[in-house]
Amino acid sequence: MKNKIKIAFLGTIMVLGFGCSDLKEQILDESLSGGKLQSDIIKGSVAPAYALLPDFFLHTRYFALQEISTDEAILPYRGGTDWGDNGIYIDLHRHLYTPSHVRLKDAWNNLVTLISRTVTAINVLTPIAKSDAEAKIYLGEMKALRAYYNMVLLDMYGLSFVKEDPNEVSKIIRGNDAVEYIRTELESVQNEVSTTSGPGRITQGAVWGLLARLHLNAAVWREPYATNFNFKPEDMDKVILYTDKIINSGMYKLSPEFFEIFDDENHTNKELIFAVDQRPDLNGHNRLAYFSLSGDMFPLPNFPNANGTDGPAITSDFYRTWVQAYGATDPAKDARFFKENLVIPVDSFIAGDKFEINRGIQRGQQFGLITTRYGQPFERGANGTYKIGKLRNITRADKNKLVIHTEQIDFTTEGSGYSTGYRVEKYEFSKLSDSGRNKGQADIIILRYADIYMMRAEAKLRKGDANGALTDVNAVRASRTARTSQTPPALAQMTLDILFRERGFEFYWECQRRTDMIRFGKYEGTWTEKTDSDIKKRLFPIPQSAIDGASANVGYLVQNDGY
């Protein structure tokens, strides 16, 4: 018996011993450490700091926030079924955004993550940069990129974050402190960064351009709720200083064909200074080309699943600015307004590789490839040609209704139809986009050469040099020579209103409108479906999720006024 007890206890102890564990968590599907060569470490830290840019520049994020909140874009609840999204785009347009607005949160999350990634990269690169030339360039680039992200945050949410050590709590700065911080950071690296690695990366030209943009908007960013912004002459001089530097560098060229700036192959276009480098096999989305296009338009003969989505259109107010400028002449006379690519052959049949949709602002009856239902093969002719015809609402209930884009678009029943509103196809619909949503190729513009002239013009004008301003604006207009009959004619005079209007003609749907409207004092104005005139809306609210997250730290992250 005693032996049995002994054996039993021994067995127990053995089994217990077998079972004991230190409970260290084993990770099977993730690597918690990098562990690579130094050159990989450099690029491995830099690439992520840019990587979320395509995401940030999504149609539903930065684009929606900067454009749908203005007179350039409106997105009604199409037909009561599409793009309602719980009212978020209607609220945005009406300036009824609240801290719970989901797109404001998404954009904020992108920006703060990107800033954090630049901080990580700076900390990785700083020791290496002492002995490694490549790392030194990247270090400057990361500081410039951090300044750019902080500048966007300052513009949208009225604050910037200072963070050097990843283990310390960021310092939150606003107003002049933020402007000065961003200025110092950009200035400190202007000679550190490469001059030639653009436009996908920050170059010296980009740093100068961002400095010009900073000084041009400094008055707004210092006192966002001011009744009259104080555009200081010394700021304007800085704008002129940096734009001159860029122009004198001879690195850039205005594109004779306006729409080539937005083509699939725009990466090599000399007009681009800083842009989001999109690659179809890595990070490219086609959302900016897809967003406004009719859901019944199929731009690619090879892909019957690639269509538009009947998203936003321009407001009639914005369209009227063109009409006002061109009077009796159709604004399509302006190379920037329209480029006709689709000339319908007499027999209505066209070879697949000849089919190309029109660019710019699309009005009236739309023509294109014919199908009976989304995803079905297109109607074909002899020799593999494709039939071109009037587009109808084949993806909608009323399948015979023609796709006619009308000037009127608003939140009424008639104004909210699937086809209402003039549409914008500024970026090329990526030739590789089989779903219409993915595989974008065009670089998304952050800063281009025309803006350098336009910023210099504005600085000159704000300093009282209307003639100098006129010369710069006309230089841009005259540069679009690819379609000579559509080259915009020279303007005869220059005022702030004309300059504002001109910025709309040049940069429409390029995520600048909200910033421009505020700077020109137009954001509190009235346009289609928008009457709110609360100046507190110049800044977006800080997302509730961020406020909640910081709630334990009283006084740290304070909600913007009016929310």
Partner: protein
């Protein structure tokens, strides 16, 4: 689509027949060998002596206290394997060995007896009803206790009281049987997941449910509300009892996994001396129980025109709810072998379930086998329990959610079939009948669970027990889009594979001893459990329409790229190591004290918080045993009080550790030069938090158990107060500049409190004329509130439907319950024809800020009622259940039933035209317009059965028992809810925060009639 040969029902019937024949043959051979065993006397010296002496014979009859014979009572000569069961008249005749002294008599629901033979040759044995179940043994985790000695809140349901009918997940067996337990199916689909909430929701997170322990093996599959039930692998037929541990004093023995309650499942085992083969065969016929009253084709034609819509009239007259549903047949057949000799008991079963769904092209099949063996050795000091269960479940399904949205939303003037009887091919839409063939999923999951638990009595009263268990699951899932020319479909195949294993090893010692009036039982042990899981998936596109199904040959696909077909996968391994102990003390059986403690260490916890300690204390006082209660009407009166802490460790893996990955991908890489070689970016995906630990739930419980009228009326009343804190959440960091936008942490001060009262009553009456009846019921009142949340609001429950992207339905805020609905209040239709909302914050603007709490998805009252009657050979059981105080968000209506859709020639209910002034483009936004009362009262199931007198039919030699039954499930329901069914809970969780009470095109519930045959040989 071509049907594979295997699926043809006739083929299955043949196979079942073969299986049954095989089974019977097996049963017969088994019987012979077991009977042979049983008749051999034990090879002990006494036994040998017995054979030499002349045997005596004894006859007798077993009756109950109303003198009704008890057939099937078990008679066993004590200390031998000699025994039999009484016949249909309760009689028995038994040859006794000469040294036989005592007979043991037992029958389910009766108090077991030992009767001294004392030379008698005939016996009349009167058995007493064990109505209050005091002798009943209840599993309490690492041991059993007699019900009278229990101090915690434990409810137990035996197999004979389970819900009957077509049961594809074992949770359904319990629905409405236990107070404080809310069981809601996620939908009416076969095998659909069931969400079980025991004593209120105490966690915000998705996938929190009770712990299931099967024959001592925690299956580690907490998580309900999912698409399929985590318990699907158990054949309900194999379950003997389900014990639900509700309060902390009961669950604390499961420590970090006890916070959501524990359900102990005990499977059936053989009985010494009785060999039985049972065949149960059920055939169920199901139909959609309730329809949604959408317009008929004629009404539709009128209404579309009336609202000024554009009528698309294709001349048909289709009731799509008829076309897309069917009368579904379920076959459920089981063969059970049971028996035992003195040293060995066995139970073996084979089950087959083929359940058709009431939606076309849906259903599941399950094959299951189980062997449970108990072996005794070394003078019965060593006892080994062995359990083996294996299950294969497979399904071939169309997309049921599409079918649901089509059956209620499709234009009824579209003819379903063309003149050739084939599904009509429409130009503009895809006929759902074709959709159901083109888009299908194929799944098969295989599960094996085995455990062996030897126990050894080292010295008297000291038992050492080892429990070793192993579980392995594997499954594959294929989704296929069948390539087709008309209608056009490119073809796609998505495949995924999962498998997992779960290993447990436990050692524990139990010491039980009586010291005069003092009884003490002490338990101490160690447990180590490791679970491993992984999943992998990939896809391929573009197949030629050759008729070959992509899932048979993925190689026929011709398009693979990393944007659309990137393979994915994950793997995780978790460890849980625990030390536990329990002490039970009783004084004269009147004063009962229990203390437990468990220290759980989990690899999921942070480095700074590896171990959590969970204590509990409880006391009971059996007042009815006190001398002063002698003349009271109470046959049982017990007061219980307990307090304890338990944890919830079901937190995601790896969240305590920082993660930075190095990969080339859209969110981590970026072109840094003109080449197309992209640098691998190193990014933080997750922030470290080494302080992460379990959620803690502290629960107090006070209860009374009582029995009156000689045990005819019995009941239980419990009050509980449960506070959960250390709420684990994924939160936004205070400093926004962080590598990841969120991190996991315990929100210490935040609490979720559940307060409740549970009352259960049962009354049983037996008349002398063979008529007996009983009824019982229970009711639960529960109150839930969130407090000290640092979050203004935690939204979840994403709505779905056109224009509803990013809209949420649930929102949890301080002062309101978990499961609260948070939305704008509908205030009618404005002059512009658009929806008006209540301006809740009085700012004259319509904005998000007008959202507020408008009700809760979780009921504050749950009630169940059951009744049983039996007369001679007939018996009838009825089970009713219901809830009230809850609401349902009818997302099906938001997405389908509004005027704009009707105007576009899509079908709706009359609700869409309720407001004549409503504009045709008024969007259906999330608001109280679609929030509905979720209260219901249902006749859940009713069974009428007849036990054939096999003796009178002269077949008793062959068939001992023959029972015929008919069960109706979901026979009627009283509710104001106008969706398919008010019992609905589709998971719509957002960022891991659990959603409640959302009906989104949910699979309709069936009304089922089951015809059953139960044969015992």
């Amino acid at each position: 689509m071509k049907k594979s040969r295997l699926e043809a029902p006739s083929q299955w019937k043949e196979r079942i027949l073969i299986l049954r024949k095989l089974g019977i043959a097996w049963a017969i051979s088994g019987l012979i060998s077991i009977n042979a065993l049983a008749n051999i006397n034990p090879p002990s010296s006494e036994g040998n002596a017995a054979t030499v002496q002349q045997q005596k014979q004894i006859t007798g009859k077993v009756v109950d206290n109303t003198n009704q014979p008890i057939p099937g009572a078990s008679i066993l000569v004590k200390g031998t394997t000699i025994g039999l069961v009484t016949d249909a008249d309760g009689n028995f005749k038994l040859n006794l060995p000469a040294n036989a002294e005592t007979l043991q008599v037992s029958f389910v629901g009766m108090k077991s007896q030992e009767i001294a033979l004392a030379g008698k040759s005939s016996l009349n044995i009167v058995m007493e009803v064990d109505a209050i179940g005091l002798e009943e043994v209840v599993a309490v985790g690492y041991g059993n206790l007699q019900k009278k000695d229990i101090t915690g809140a434990v409810s137990s349901v035996k197999s004979e009281n389970f819900n009957k009918g077509v049961i594809s997940s074992p949770e359904q067996l319990l629905q409405g049987k236990i107070s404080g337990v809310n069981i809601t199916s996620s939908s009416g689909a076969p095998g659909a997941g069931q969400r079980i909430i025991i004593r209120g929701q105490g966690s915000l997170r998705q996938g929190t449910g009770p712990l299931f322990v099967i024959d001592g093996f925690p299956v580690g599959l907490a998580g309900t509300g999912s698409e399929s039930s985590p318990l699907n692998f158990i054949n309900p037929e194999d379950i003997e009892t389900m014990d639900v541990l509700k309060d902390a004093s009961a669950t604390a023995i499961y420590g970090a996994r006890g916070a959501n309650g524990v359900i102990l499942i005990t499977t059936k085992r053989g009985t010494t001396g009785i060999s039985k083969v049972t065949v149960t065969s059920n055939v169920g016929v199901s139909q959609m129980a309730r329809r949604i009253p959408v317009f008929s084709a004629d009404e539709f034609r009128k209404k579309v025109v009336e609202v000024g819509g554009r009528l698309e009239d294709k001349g048909g007259n289709t009731d799509w709810q008829d076309v897309l549903t069917r009368t579904a047949i379920t076959n459920d057949h089981n063969l059970v072998l049971k028996g035992g000799s003195q040293k060995t008991n066995y139970y073996a079963s084979l089950g087959f379930l083929d359940q058709q769904g009431i939606i076309i092209e849906t259903g599941l099949k399950r094959y299951s086998g189980r062997v449970n063996i108990t072996q005794k050795l070394l003078d019965d000091r060593l006892k080994i329990d062995f359990n083996l269960n294996t299950t294969v479940e497979s399904g071939e399904n169309c997309n049921a959610s599409t079918m649901v949205s089509q059956m209620i939303g499709l234009n009824p003037t579209y003819p379903a079939y063309d003149s050739n009887g084939e599904p009509t091919v429409f130009n503009d839409i895809l006929n759902p009948l074709i959709d159901a063939k083109l888009y299908r999923s194929f799944s098969e999951s295989r599960r094996l669970i085995a455990n062996i638990s030897p126990s050894f009595e080292i010295v008297k009263g000291l038992i050492y027990k080892l429990n070793f268990g192993y579980q392995n699951t594997s499954g594959d899932f294929d989704y296929q889009a069948m390539p087709s020319t008309i209608p056009f479909e490119r073809g796609r195949l998505e495949q995924s594979f999962s498998n997992g294993r779960n290993t447990i090893i436990e050692n524990y010692l139990t010491y039980t001893r009586a010291f005069g009036d003092h009884n003490l039982s002490v338990l101490a042990g160690h447990s180590y459990q490791e679970t491993f899981g992984r999943w992998r998936g990939w896809s391929i596109d573009l197949f030629s329409p050759t008729g070959v199904e992509p899932h048979y040959n993925p190689g026929l696909g011709s398009e693979l790229d990393l944007v659309d077909n990137k393979p994915g996968g994950w793997a995780s391994i978790n460890e849980l190591q625990s030390f536990f102990g329990r002490a039970n003390y009783s004084f004269k059986g009147k004063i009962l004290l229990t203390a437990t403690v468990r220290a759980d260490g989990s690899s999921k916890f942070g480095d700074n918080r590896k171990y959590g300690v969970f204590p509990s204390f409880a006391a009971g006082w059996r007042i009815s045993d006190e001398p002063f209660m002698k003349s009271s009407p109470f046959t049982n009166l017990k007061l219980r009080a307990g307090w304890g802490q338990t944890g919830n460790q079901e937190i995601p893996n790896k969240i305590t550790q920082a993660l930075f990955t190095t990969s080339v991908g859209a969110s981590s890489s970026y072109p840094l030069d003109a080449t197309s070689t992209y640098p691998a970016g190193t990014t933080y995906v997750r922030l470290a938090n080494p302080d992460i630990q379990w959620e803690v739930s502290t629960q107090s419980n006070v209860g009374v158990d009582f029995a009156l009228l000689k045990g005819k009326l019995s009941g239980t009343i419990d009050y509980f107060h449960k506070v959960s804190n250390n709420i684990l959440l994924e939160v936004v960091p205070a400093d926004p500049i962080q590598p990841a936008t969120t991190y996991w942490t315990n929100v210490e001060d935040m609490t979720i409190t559940n307060d409740g009262v549970e009352i259960a009553l049962d009354y049983q009456h037996k008349n002398k004329d063979g008529f007996s009846y009983g009824f019982g019921g229970n009711i639960t009142f529960i109150d839930n509130v969130v407090e000290n949340s640092p979050f203004t609001i935690l939204t979840t429950g994403g709505a779905s439907g056109a224009g509803l992207t990013s809209a949420t339905v649930n929102g949890y805020v301080n002062g309101y319950p978990i499961g609260a609905f948070y939305m704008k209040e509908f205030a009618g239709i404005g002059e512009n024809g658009l929806t008006k909302y209540v301006d809740w914050n009085n700012d004259t603007k319509d904005s998000d800020a007008d959202r507020h709490v408008v009700g809760s998805a979780l009921p504050d009252k749950m009630f169940n009622f059951n009744a049983n009657m039996s007369y001679k050979r007939f018996d009838l059981v009825l089970n009713f259940n219901g809830v009230s105080g809850n609401k349902i968000y009818d997302n099906t209506a938001t997405a389908n039933f509004y005027k704009a859709r009707l105007a576009k020639s899509l079908n709706t209910t009359a609700a869409a035209v309720e407001y004549p002034e409503e504009s045709n483009i008024n969007p259906a936004s999330v608001s109280t317009r679609y929030l509905k009362d979720g209260a219901f009262f249902r006749l859940n199931n009713a069974t009428l059965a007849y036990n054939l007198n096999t003796k009178n039919f002269g077949i008793v030699k062959w068939i001992e028992e023959l029972r015929l039954s008919v069960t109706g499930q979901n026979l009627f329901i009283i509710t104001k809810y106008d969706g398919f069914d008010p019992e609905v809970n589709q998971d719509s969780s957002d960022r891991g925060i659990q959603s409640f009470g959302i009906d989104k095109n949910s699979y309709p519930k069936a009304r089922t009639f089951v015809f059953g045959l139960n044969l015992t040989f």
